[in-house]
């Protein structure tokens, strides 16, 4: 169990570093991120479901950066660990690119 948790922690730490570098280089695919967010996150993060309703405009760009730098602190950290680094980065690109204070805040649809 300890091993499993430590492996999970390492994956998430590695992912945070990877995302940090990739963010700086702007490598995420926001379009795919939108699809992945709906597929992977909105199943829980929606009205009436297990987690709080969430969309890009739920946070500011700075808050999304902080969130992705600390994926290992999220309740759903295991789900994050199951995503590939590229998928996580794509989701980040979508959420960050359409955040509350971004140049193109997401519209409700």
């Amino acid at each position: 169990m300890v091993k499993k948790l430590s492996a999970l922690g390492m994956i998430l730490v590695f992912m945070a570093v990877f995302i940090g570098v990739a963010i700086a280089e702007g490598k995420g695919n926001s379009r795919k991120g939108k699809y992945l967010f709906r597929k992977s996150c909105r199943t829980c993060h929606t009205d009436g479901a297990a987690a709080k309703d969430l969309s890009p405009v739920s946070k500011t760009q700075a808050e999304w950066v902080k969130t992705f730098e600390a994926l290992d602190t999220l309740q759903c950290k295991e789900e994050w660990a199951n995503l590939s680094e590229q998928d996580s980065l794509d989701i980040y690109s979508y959420l960050h690119g359409h955040a509350f204070d971004s140049p193109s805040p997401a519209k409700c649809k």
Binding site: Y35, R42, D47, Q61, G97, P105, K109
Partner: protein, 730 residues
């Protein structure tokens, strides 16, 4: 006061004319004109009159109305007194809505092009044939060019959301709203300054400067009515416009500003307010960022300097700045709802936003507000992802800060013509008419001629439909059920409205919601549209039962209570969490962080600058063919100042040539002092190619034919005032 009376008489004349014509048509010859257009020609229960709530669709305002219906025939449209947004009124265009419904020129069944594009030869199809054909083309283009090879463009309409959802399920990123031919630069500027697009509280404002906007003709509810009420309450209106519009005529002061110099005026106003310390120091300190940078920046922009640029005397600029500051915070630079004009349009609007910030009018009575709003629920679309798609929109990166969900018609068209970064070969339009509203019509035709397939859904054969391969008939707003639509207006009048069919849909017309559902079924995407409009509305209303009740009882849900003082202590949605006088985001993108004035291009000798605008009779090209409104304006004219006309030997009413680098038209001259000698003007919506618009075919000229296509550098919005024309006798 006299001015107000004039306006009221004018409005009554409109209503009288509309009402009289509607009545004479309906009463004098109901069978021939009305019953002939309905499937069931039987006359029954003549005294049975129903009153049905709806929302007007003769422009974008969605004013509440009550239709008087007798035997499934709409006899008259009345304003809904419960509709606070429209202040219980319905304008001439709203009254003329009955003639959008009973228009002999309406599209009646699906049509397939038979001759060359634009030749006007059509074959009638059944709906099954039409939908099978459209689905086949969507499938073929998607497979050959990726799903992004199909472009979607929908106008302002309560069902446009379904076109967007269909495009997303189909897999195209290339979706354009009509707004990139309209006002995106304004939205860009205010969003980047305030983090939101605020709404002006005209009703309670004591001092309004209106640059370019023509609120007494280009009607926006409730601003148009509220401005009149505010003026009755001694509010001051100052209009800057190269044209003597009706708004200018009723204003306290009108300045025929040199076109393209509005930013100079407002930077000078900012300079006066700052140098004379006429601002609220606490507000500036607590709510804004970049004030010191702004102070330094505007030192160069003195009223004396601005006089040379704007043709407005320095003493007036100074006085207006002082008067504005004295009236603050119930004072404003009206943000406008007009189209973008110059290549630095976003920066021009930024200068408006900055002066508003100096007036401290944010969230204040008579200032700029963000009213409370209702958020209807929605059906969440779980659209698929197509791995072979390109990374982004076809126009991505062509403007410095384009709205990804709006796009740019100008840049998309250029990209399609170039075939780069990838080919786009299909186009679906819904209730938008870029052939009339997108500058440089010849380029639009050129683009259409590069396409493999184009389909248009509309009520009549617009010029855009005229160029399409497949034309599908849509019902008018009085014949269909729509989703709920939340709207933000100003003081105490935001809310929600919807529409149910007032009468059954005529001919074979089908709403676009039904069309996309049918296309989706044929493309194996049916699961994404597996719901009815009732289901959709139930989902929208799930958490807001009070809205359902109000809509049923009153036809509208109004949010009551003050719209100001709602954001005390709340951060702004900007990077600094304050109003950004200096934009660090712009700086990081290599954009001027504060508006830097550049003189507009000089008008070459023997040329004129052409400007766009509107009058109260027409909504661009959507209503010029309407049987009632056409009675008020049968063609457009080119406004030319008498001095300029005399120099060219042009007489009032004479047909003349107008030429630019984009095209050439002939049009009758209106020789008038209501425009500057260096500026000419014509209304949009005439000079049509479609001879199925029988009232206006062959009348007037199309402004899109001669407008050159320039774009606002930041937003990608079409810049409409960058064209110079020559005019000459024939």
């Amino acid at each position: 006061m006299a001015a107000t009376k004039t306006q009221m008489i004018s409005r009554r004349k409109f209503l009288k004319l509309s009402g009289a014509l509607a009545a004479s048509t309906a009463v004098a010859n109901p069978c021939r004109v009305l019953y002939a257009l309905t499937k069931d020609s039987g006359v029954k229960n003549l005294n049975e009159i129903r009153e049905v709530f709806s929302a007007c669709d003769m422009c974008f305002n969605k004013c509440g109305l009550i239709a008087q219906v007798e035997n499934d025939i709409v006899k008259k449209l009345d304003p809904n007194p419960k509709s606070l947004k429209s202040r219980g009124m319905l304008c001439a265009r709203g009254n003329a809505g009955v003639k959008q419904l009973y228009d002999p020129d309406r599209l009646k069944y699906p049509l397939l092009r038979k001759g060359a594009r634009g030749e006007g030869k059509w074959q009638r199809l059944s709906w099954d044939q039409a939908l099978d054909h459209a689905a086949e083309q969507l499938d073929k283009i998607g497979k050959q060019y990726t799903r992004c090879g199909f472009l979607f463009m929908a106008g302002t309409d309560m069902q446009s959301t379904f076109v967007h959802q269909f495009a997303e399920a189909y897999g195209s990123y290339n979706i354009i709203s009509h707004e990139s031919n309209c006002l995106l630069s304004r939205n860009r500027a205010f969003l980047d300054t305030y983090g939101v697009m605020p709404t002006p509280d005209v009703l309670n404002c004591k001092y309004v400067i209106m640059p370019g906007a023509n609120r007494f003709e280009a009607i926006v509810t409730p601003d148009t009515m509220d401005l009149m009420t505010a003026m009755e309450n001694k509010s001051k209106l100052v209009v800057l416009d190269p044209r003597f519009t009706k708004t200018a005529a009723l204003a306290d002061e009108w300045y025929p500003i040199k076109p393209g110099t509005d930013m100079a005026f407002f930077l000078a106003v900012a300079q006066v307010i700052i140098s004379e310390e006429l601002y609220d120091k606490t507000f500036i300190q607590e709510k804004t960022s970049g004030f010191e940078e702004l102070r330094e920046h505007v030192k160069q922009y003195t009223p004396q300097w601005a006089e040379q640029e704007t043709d407005i005397p320095a003493k007036d600029i100074k006085r207006i700045a002082r008067e504005l500051a004295k009236a603050a915070p119930s004072a404003m630079v009206y943000p406008g709802r007009r189209s973008s004009d110059y290549e630095d349009s976003t920066q021009i609007r930024r200068s408006y936003a900055i002066v508003n910030a100096l007036l401290g009018n944010w969230d204040q009575k008579g200032g700029l507000l963000v009213p409370k709003k209702v958020k209807p629920g929605s059906m969440h679309l779980e659209a698929p992802f197509y791995e072979d798609n390109p990374d982004d929109r076809v126009d991505a990166g062509m403007a410095q800060m384009m709205f990804g969900e709006e796009g740019s018609f100008k840049h998309t068209r250029d990209a399609i013509l170039k075939g780069e970064p990838y080919p786009v070969k299909g186009w679906m339009t819904y209730k938008t008419n870029p052939m009339q509203t997108g500058a440089n019509r010849n380029k639009t035709i050129e683009m259409i001629n590069t396409l493999d397939f184009m389909m248009t859904v509309d009520i009549t054969m617009s010029d855009t439909a005229w160029m399409a391969d497949l034309v599908l008939p849509a019902p008018s707003y009085l014949e269909r059920q729509d989703p709920l639509s939340a709207f933000l207006a100003s003081s105490t009048c935001s809310g929600v409205i919807t529409r149910d069919a007032v009468v059954p849909a005529m001919f074979e017309s089908k709403p676009v919601f039904w069309i996309v559902k049918e296309l989706a079924k044929r493309l194996d995407l049916g699961e994404f549209f597996d719901y009815t409009m009732d289901d959709f509305r139930k989902e929208q209303l799930k958490k807001i039962p009070e809205v359902a009740k109000a809509i049923k009882e009153d036809g509208v849900y109004n949010i009551t209570g003050p719209s100001y003082g709602l954001y005390k202590g709340k951060p702004f949605k900007t990077t600094s969490k304050k109003i950004e006088l200096y934009s660090t985001r712009y700086k990081s993108k290599g954009i001027d962080p504060m508006p830097v004035y550049k003189s507009p291009k000089s008008i070459p000798e023997n040329h004129f600058r052409i400007v766009v605008g509107r009058n109260a009779y027409i909504t661009q090209s959507a209503s010029t063919n309407n049987n009632l409104l056409w009675e008020l304006q049968k063609e457009n004219h080119l406004w030319v100042h008498p001095e300029s006309a005399a120099a060219l030997g042009i007489k009032d009413g004479e047909t003349i040539n107008v030429k630019s680098s984009a095209g050439k038209v002939t049009i009758k001259a209106r020789v008038t002092k209501e425009t500057r000698p260096d500026t000419v003007y014509m209304d949009t919506g005439f000079g049509v190619m479609s001879n199925w618009l029988t009232n206006i075919a062959g009348k007037g000229a199309c402004i899109a034919e001669i407008l050159e296509d320039r774009a606002d550098i930041i937003s990608g919005n079409m810049a409409m005032h960058e064209t110079f024309v020559t005019i000459s006798k024939i």
